[in-house]
């Protein structure tokens, strides 16, 4: 399917963690930006409870939030995306009052006058924060007036989700913009280095670009219709 990026007027990306945007949607964001469409990231937390501390590790539990905040700002710059940080704490999103989170999201979505929202598809997003953020985003959109309601593209990443949801409706090949996606990924130094080292094993001959491209090339979404 050929995607007409320029038909949208404002995209809002909703995920809980710094780096979710770079893994899940950075290439898509670049394509929207190249089509002149503004994109804003509503990032739930600062990934304060992340296990990855860099490889070799350079962060600790108390320095990690500020490090990841700076990484997030840098990553958003690499793909020219606006950023709003929502101030929740990593690993606790599912224990927040879902309606309150949804109300906050709805207000921001309406203020930005979004024509498209990109978020995780609950409960097919593995991490409890991913599912909680996706649930709150879905609720926010359900709560909106039908005529203001944006289109929704949702990332499903759990094993076996295709048996339930079917194949993704939208597959974005990020190859032509992959250098920017890689720059965004690499901005998350505390998180990405260990991962790249892991997938490097057995692929020593590949360049960093080709190695990353192999793993992070395609961004896939299921469209969700709230109007029925």
């Amino acid at each position: 399917m050929e995607i007409d990026y320029s038909k949208h007027k404002q995209v809002v990306v909703i995920y809980p963690h710094p780096d979710d945007e770079s893994f899940g949607t950075a290439g898509t964001v670049v394509k929207f930006r190249e089509a002149g469409v503004p994109v804003t990231y509503l990032c739930g937390t600062l990934g304060e409870m992340g296990r990855n501390m860099g490889s070799p590790f350079f962060a600790n539990r108390e320095t990690l939030p500020e490090i990841r905040k700076q990484e997030l700002i840098k990553a958003c710059k690499e793909i020219d995306m606006d950023l709003q940080m929502l101030g929740y704490r990593d690993k606790t999103m599912e224990f927040e009052d879902e309606q309150k989170v949804a109300d906050d999201l709805r207000q921001r979505i309406e203020e930005l006058d979004a024509s498209l929202v990109i978020t995780f598809y609950p409960p097919h997003a593995v991490h409890p924060d991913h599912n909680a953020m996706g649930r709150a985003a879905f609720r926010a959109i359900r709560d909106m007036d039908a005529e203001k309601r944006p289109e929704v593209w949702a990332n499903a990443i759990s094993n076996g989700h295709e048996e339930i949801l079917g194949s993704p409706d939208i597959v974005v090949d990020t190859k032509t913009v992959f250098q920017k996606k890689l720059n965004a990924l690499k901005a998350h130094k505390s998180q990405i280095d260990g991962m790249l080292q892991k997938v490097r094993k057995g692929n020593e001959e590949l360049s960093e670009f080709d190695l990353a491209l192999r793993h992070f090339r395609y961004e896939t979404y299921h469209t969700v219709n709230f109007n029925e």
Partner: protein, 117 residues
């Protein structure tokens, strides 16, 4: 952080004996353990900013990893698998255990003032 020095950590623990401190304790095998291995399942727990006054704090070494136990009036706090420590500019004693890839598996931290949110 640097590798744990038992004597140094013991001195830091001793300074807060019988004084109220805030404790952060956590352990986790990550939110993706089951995702990558169907036979595994995710475990984890964390406590942030519980206030305790311990009557005895002690660090013990076994085969290169450390355990810390804090005895207080009505119970205990304990962590195992600690390997690294730092006493930072905010007078916080941070201790953590990392796996071979540098990922945090366990942490115990003490501070006179509450940890940030």
């Amino acid at each position: 952080m640097e590798s744990i020095n038992l004597n140094k950590v013991q001195e830091y623990l001793d300074q807060w004996t019988n004084k109220p401190v805030y404790v952060h304790v956590e352990t986790t095998n990550g939110a993706y353990a089951k995702h990558f291995d169907a036979n595994a399942y995710n475990v984890g727990a964390y406590v942030r900013n519980a206030q305790i006054t311990y009557t005895q704090g002690k660090i013990v070494e076994q085969e290169g990893a450390y355990r810390v136990g804090l005895k207080h009036e009505i119970g205990w706090i304990y962590a195992e698998g600690l390997t690294d420590f730092e006493f930072n500019e905010n007078n916080q004693l941070l201790m953590a255990g990392h796996d071979a890839d540098g990922r945090l598996m366990v942490a115990m931290q003490l501070s006179e003032k509450p940890f940030n949110y």
